[in-house]
Symmetry: C2
Subunit: 341 residues, 2 copies
Amino acid sequence: MSATLSNQVSQEKILTGDRATGQLHLGHYVGSLQQRVQLQHQYHQTILVADMQGLTDNGHNPKKVSSNILNVVADYLAVGIDPALTTICLQSAIPALAELSMFYSNLVSISRLERNPTVKNEIKSKDFGRSIPAGFLTYPISQAADITAFNATLIPVGDDQLPMIEQTNEIVRKLNSIANKPILKECKPLLSPVSRLPSTDGKNKMSKSMGNAILLSATEREIKQAVRAMYTDPGHLQIEDPGKVEGNVVFTYLDAFYPDKVYVEELKAQYRAGGLGDGKTKAILESCLQELIQPIRQRREKLMSDKGQLVEVLKTGTERAKDETGDVLNRVKNAFGLKLF
Amino acid sequence: MSATLSNQVSQEKILTGDRATGQLHLGHYVGSLQQRVQLQHQYHQTILVADMQGLTDNGHNPKKVSSNILNVVADYLAVGIDPALTTICLQSAIPALAELSMFYSNLVSISRLERNPTVKNEIKSKDFGRSIPAGFLTYPISQAADITAFNATLIPVGDDQLPMIEQTNEIVRKLNSIANKPILKECKPLLSPVSRLPSTDGKNKMSKSMGNAILLSATEREIKQAVRAMYTDPGHLQIEDPGKVEGNVVFTYLDAFYPDKVYVEELKAQYRAGGLGDGKTKAILESCLQELIQPIRQRREKLMSDKGQLVEVLKTGTERAKDETGDVLNRVKNAFGLKLF
């Protein structure tokens, strides 16, 4: 609120989160987790364990969500997200998020939702057709509720999620127009500095169920196997042959994880010229990933051995989140003239 | 729970309510209010002042809702609904209703909602087209949340609302199947004993804005004018002419409100035969309605002169409702495996 704020914490608030539908993997690590560990020192950061959003396409298979909530919390803590700096909270346990969603759903038309490019693509890829659950079509409204409930102004996203930011800001402007004063803040995207990490087979989005992702809980053996099976250059049959670096997942992972970037460039040059085998590049990558994941895995194991403690972390963050979001809900209720008591 | 329940109160629970988009009128009086006054002695009855549902087609005009909440509460009390017997509560102030709606929305497809005949008709009559607000298309889900949140098993409805009961029971069955035990109760309709009262012009649905409804707050003069302007038989030009009773709004109202049914039948016979003028029938109806409305209007005026008291009634009922609905929410959260703390 003043220029003398300690630790130079920015006034911008960050909201981010994950659908609790699986353990987190290396894609999350480079795409968001690393960034969050840094951002928590500069910003008021909230991470939502999005169990409700996870249910929007798992309503009939809720175990997929419920069994992963503590996994995701353990992943957060294991990579260094600090609950003293970052509010880690559970979406379904914060009533204001549902209440705001109900208010906002009166301000967004069905056709507007159907035009949302992100949702359009997801509907196509999930093969919903007309059987799309209402909760899935309307989840951009629920995201707007999440963002505004925390007064968040900076939203870490991939560029495929920019339509979500636009939808949120449309709702913010409508609300402010109804209230006749700026009760909600518009948000802006914080684009991820790295592009999406490919799956180990180079084909699909990473997913635990497809077996093409390296989880943060991966064992030594799982890491070894995943790297060994990694997609490289199918035309690179003999060590002497020149090989392609583009689309070669081993090099993409080396780019993402190997600390010495100069060395990676040297490897690429050698691979392109011929004379560098996949066995060698994979060995380099594997040892790098083993070194990265080992301490995370160990911290994670310890965390998962005391689930009561994980629940406590989530509960404490959620209590804090309930306090914060109640204030925005009251402002929205006032805008609609419904705060009678 | 046992056969020795005091006062022979049924174990069936009733949920009913009104969209808070206008003052209540004689149509509500015969269609639901009278019935509620009786039912409150036999049943555990909850009346929801449905401000959130009112917003589903008034999101950009929330005053239409907010300005009518206390009006509706005053109408209830003025006709004899007793807050000691009936829980009168405010929909937007009960978080569990929004939270349950979010859970249920993952179990209902968009195409199922679009097939709902009641919603279909309303979309047509409101001329929404594709600009239908998400909250409006999904309001049957929200109604299912309302009904189940209160464990309601008897729902007073007109026959045009039977699809709402069916939609609710579909959700109940899905939930019970997910929970693998009967955590929610199916409900059944309690059909209104009287058919819908026509508007005074005999043309449309009664509505304050169309000036074709007699409000429970109508002044002596307003009642007189409304009855004088009432639609009768346009072919009945002279007193001596035979007149038509069917579609003659004056007789429909006499049927609905005049206590002496035998006398009304005599009047009908005379009107059909010729020799009974509209002036006479209207005078009889007017005096009957003046007598009915006068004490309601007086109680209503007194109630509206102390809005703090009305807020208090609503607040007390809402607190009770919050206690009741929290239990069902917990059961649903448990079914989804999300009750972590």
